[in-house]
């Protein structure tokens, strides 16, 4: 944006022995920060693995396929199947709901709204990101859940033939769907704020060129803004997904905490890694604590893998990134 005002430094000044001391200090500081980051992430991983080992050795069931969670029983029986299922499905519901809306908000702010509306709306969206998750949880439990009953009943009535929405008991509270809606609202500002920034960086020249060629505004968005912003949109979505996977207290308040894989997402049930840790930690015995840490390790790995996939997608799409335009 302000490229024209920056005078390019003379390359000779930086090279060779005449490196300024400030440069070197800053280089070392930033390298140190990078190394510290790696060390902390690694230390968390090692800590989790170390603490998880005793319970994993004691588990008399298959840790990956068992749905029940009785780590303090004799013999201990516990596994992450139900937790992994609940975590992934609530996060997916949240993503399906939040990503399109977030991108819509970002587009509106960056390319449709006039300046005053855009800055006010942007401010409000950013404000939403600062609301603590316990507030979202309490709001979801005491406001959203009672008021969503009619809507969920409507979905079940007309779409109940899809196994996902079947609900023979006709009880619509404390479900994965409701937790997913709350999570969607929580991750909305994160995704929308990042995509908005990316959309704002689309080179004005490209936009003007497409409009000059006779593109309508929507065609311009589709052919210029989206391709340019794709890596940004993906990483924004992954940031949101990371938050959704790890969200604890809001989910713990809303879900019914059932250790069972149930695809019928409008029924009471569901449980997630983070929520389960919050619900079981206080009363867990030594083996129970270790088992909870083992489940935390799995969540840590899932998040790591999700982020690595996101990086891969972004890296493959490098030709569109701002650096080359």
């Amino acid at each position: 944006m302000s490229q024209q005002t920056i005078t390019k430094p003379d390359p000779v000044e930086i090279r060779g022995s005449s490196v300024r001391r400030g440069d070197r200090v800053f280089f070392n500081l930033s390298r140190g920060a990078g190394i510290l980051m790696l060390a902390i992430t690694g230390a968390i991983g090692v800590f989790l693995a170390w603490k998880a080992i005793p319970s994993l050795q004691s588990d008399s069931a298959n840790f990956f396929t068992e749905q029940q969670w009785f780590p303090d029983a004799v013999p201990p029986v516990f596994g992450i199947a139900a937790l992994a299922f609940g975590t992934v499905v609530t996060a997916l519901v949240a993503m399906v709901l939040a990503v399109p809306v977030a991108i819509g908000i970002a587009l509106f702010i960056s390319h449709y709204a006039n300046r005053r509306v855009a800055s006010t709306l942007g401010f409000i969206v950013d404000l939403l990101a600062a609301v603590p998750s316990i507030i979202f949880g309490l709001w979801g439990l005491s406001v959203l859940m009672p008021n969503m009953q009619g809507f969920v009943a409507w979905i079940v009535k007309y779409f109940g033939w899809i196994p996902l929405f079947a609900n023979p008991e006709q009880v619509y509270t404390k479900s994965i769907l409701i937790a997913g809606v709350v999570l969607a609202i929580m991750i909305l500002p994160t995704i929308s704020a990042v995509t908005r920034e990316v959309f704002l960086q689309v080179p004005q020249g490209h936009i003007e060129a497409s409009l000059a060629l006779g593109a309508t505004r929507w065609e311009m968005v589709r052919m210029v803004v989206f391709p340019f912003g794709k890596p940004g949109m993906v990483s924004a979505a992954m940031l949101g997904l990371g938050r959704a996977l790890g969200e604890t207290i809001a989910v713990a308040l809303i879900l019914s905490a059932v250790f069972e894989i149930n695809w019928q997402i409008t029924e009471p049930g569901g449980n997630t890694f983070a929520a389960n840790i919050a619900l079981k930690w206080n009363e867990a015995g030594p083996n129970g604590l270790s088992a909870l840490i083992a489940s935390g390790l799995v969540l840590f790995i899932i998040t790591l893998v999700v982020n690595m996939i996101a990086r891969l997608i972004v890296a493959r799409r490098k030709e569109y990134s701002g650096a080359n335009s």
Binding site: M37, I40, T41, L253, L255, A257, V258, A278, W281
Partner: protein, 351 residues
Amino acid sequence: MKTSRGVGILAVTAAGVLAVAACSSGGSASGNSIKASGSSAQKNAMTEWINSYQQANSGSTIDYQANGSGAGIQDFINNQTSFAGSDSAIKDADLQKASQRCGTGPAINIPMVGGAIVVAFNVAGVEKLDLSSSVVAQIFSGKITKWNAPAIASLNPGVKLPDAAIVQFHRSDSSGTTDNFTKYLQASAAKDWTTAPGKDWTAPGGQGAKGNDGVASSVKSTPNSVGYMELSFAQDSKIPMAAINNGGGAVMPTTETAQAGLASATVVGTGNDLSLKIDYANKAPGAYPIVLVTYEITCEKGLQGGALTLTKSFLQYTASDSAQGMLSGIGYVPLPASLLTKVNSSVNSIS
């Protein structure tokens, strides 16, 4: 920009982890200040007691953190606290570790706060409901699914029960409340309650809510619902409670009936260890059967210096008639006189 955000978030997470790790260390006691932690069930009683104790003994500080019985016992074993509050008596491996921490003397369970678990319901137009233990077990195990089921109706002649499905709430978190409630169901309705008792709810069906407050607010806001919770939560939320018939007539849960229920508890601990066995199948008329006791766990011998003086003095205060008398006003149950005498001699033995 993307990267810096990611790094920021990770850094904040890591800082949080470090902060939590830093918090968990800390000394047990110094001078006239002690730390304690454990059961959240006795939190309100502790808060009241600590307040009035500190007012009477200025300069003394007692810090009770209600982080759950399991965590409280671990804190005590790790020498971070002078006593632990717990919903169930410490035993077996934990007792051995706790006694090792005490060094010279065994760790002992001292009952201190009584409580009652009530079955509270929200059915339009119904204020009073009599339930037998067997019916309670059938409701919570999903065998009775309608409010107008013959089993409920025959116990409540003249009460107009709706033809509506029963919405059952239980605890989604691990808790001593669930532990005591399921022990009661197993002891007094073994035929209708077949899942093993424990801190985690294992029966099929129903919906989980977090904490006593979560169950109370869920029942309060859901028509045709029922849930179990501690007495004070039902009282505070003004939710009607069921009278329980354990074979000796229906008994409403009140401080007095629960105290009568507690009187049937027998001491199974040896020496100054006052572990109790509660008679959940209690049929005595006027005795409410679903009662619980929370313990203070400390060293009979082995506390040192200021921690010893203050722990003993504080527990002597909590076992006094005036401190026990405060309990009924805040939804707890004072210990029956016969038990309180034993508690006092046990506390006096701490040295």
